[in-house]
């Protein structure tokens, strides 16, 4: 821009530039307004009931899309959300339960999980064995509420497949 501009050109550039800047900013503002700052989703930490209320084996909690697995005093929680595209998997009871050691701990697999959307299959501990699912099902952190002793699941806290909650 070594050339000296005359006033007309300068004002034209200025006006066009200001117009583009204004449109760009307004466009960006409109788009930004569509990204929520507050989300009124369900809380991620939920009490799901007293440990004694859970039967041995598998229980489905539809509201959390979660399976709670109980074996005597040992509990763990497996997500029912397929890792492929988010459908809810269904549990299918195995005719003869399979004993396994998962990460050094004994586990009795009574079920397997099947996805109705694209046919992914998971083992009873959530490992993906076939179909398009790229990852195993998530496990969530479980604890006991200090006030009333209910099981508390933390849906924001994913844990490894060796996680167990042992109640007294």
């Amino acid at each position: 821009m070594g050339e000296p501009q005359n006033r007309r050109d300068f004002l034209l550039t200025l006006g066009t530039g200001a117009g583009i800047a204004a449109l760009g900013y307004q466009g960006a503002a409109s788009l930004r307004s569509l990204v929520p700052n507050v989300s009124y989703d369900a809380p991620t930490t939920v009490k799901v009931g007293l440990p004694a209320e859970f039967p041995d084996g598998l229980k489905f909690l539809p509201d959390q899309r979660l399976f709670i697995f109980r074996e005597g005093t040992v509990f763990h929680a497996i997500s029912a959300v397929c890792t492929h595209l988010g459908c809810t998997v269904r549990a299918e009871a195995l005719s003869n339960p399979e004993a396994r050691t998962v990460d050094g701990k004994a586990l009795r697999l009574t079920h397997r999980f099947l996805c109705p959307c694209h046919g992914s299959k998971y083992t009873g501990d959530g490992g993906n064995v076939s179909g398009p699912a790229p990852r195993p099902l998530a496990w969530y952190h479980l604890s006991l509420a200090s006030d009333d002793g209910q099981l508390v699941v933390d849906l924001a806290n994913e844990v490894g497949h060796d996680f167990r909650l042992t109640t007294a």
């Binding site: 899309r65 459908c87 549990a91 179909g131």
Partner: protein, 448 residues
Amino acid sequence: MSLPATTPRARAEAPGVHARRLWSLRPRSDRQSGDAIVSNFLLHWFPAKVERSSLDWSYSFWLGTVSAALLLLLVLSGGPLLFLYVPSVERAYGSVKDIEYAITFGSWIRAVHRFAAHLMVAAVFLHLVRVFLTGAYKNGVGQGQHREWNWVIGVVMLLLTLFLSFTGYLLPWDQLAFWAVTVGTNIASSIPWIGPSIRELLIGGRGIDQPTLIRFYALHVIVLPAALGALFAYHMWRVRKDGGLARADRASVLPAPVASPASTTKTYALLGVARGTSPAVRTTTLEAADATVNAVPDLTRRTAIVVLGTFAVLSIMAALMRSPLEEAANALVTPNPAKAPWYFLWLQEIVTDTTIRLGTFTINGAFLGGVLLPGVLVGLLTAWPWIDRSPGAAAGSWFPRTRRAQNLVFLGVVAVVLILTLVGTFMRGPYWHLYWPWETWPEIPTRL
């Protein structure tokens, strides 16, 4: 003996003076049909004269006109639905149920809207196939043609049509809708890095809920129809600017147009198109008298037949067939099998088969099959007019020798899409297992 100029008939024939205020269905002379065009706003879409061969039923199958008629029908039937449907998660399902079962003619209006949407996807797709196979995106002999851009606009309009159908699919808030949106938006979120933000923008939060419904509603009734309407207007204007169908240039290909030097004794301001310093004037024009007919009534009559025929077929279909309404949306139970609408089933089939594992490294099929592959296909479609190197004379006829290879490849891709759609429709049962169409599906194990 009276002077011709004083008769009313002759006065009507004077240039710029129109015989009737309204458009004439029965023009009595070439002059009148020309005037009918000038005096009618709608008919600015139509030229005064059209190439006879481009009116052939078997050249274009009038698929673009059918698509446009369906779009018109969708707007017309969408009007009443706008008054009856309530975009709220508590009431959406109930209001659709009311439309279907309680409102006089409600189920018919909904059926018209629904079938027109499905048929429009099919018609627009077939229109694209026709334009590809006849190479109609290629420029011919006319000046200032940009058919390649009209093809690009067309591809965008196909995407808008699909997106319009898909956003409408969610509105009844039934099981089909809910899970289609779950899967659809999770495909968007499988894009590396920006995916999750795109999903959040689409559904307006982390879960599919009221913000999702209202977003899809606004897209369905305002944003996408407005975009489609604007592009449609441009698409039609472009067809007119490019001299009509590609077939029209074909007719004038043989006597090659010659540019004659501008004469100083005549003004060509309105006859030729200026290129460089002197106007180029074609000695062969598309309006050669023997090959052309008046748009009114030849083109308008056929257009009316196609539009009214489409309306009739749709009305009868809607009267005879019921449109389904599944159970109300239930975030807790996924239907088994959960199927996408038919026009996305080939993609559902692909996302099922494209998860790639290299040792411990996995790429989700959602990204490969749901984003990358469709992206590549759309990219190729868009760029094709610039990739296609066949001569211009190959435009405007079915299966010309010079375009045989590319037509075969294109038909191959179309066949794969169709086969995958059929597999998804008829051969996928519970848990997405493969069954032959004549096999019965096993009892679905009861869920926990």
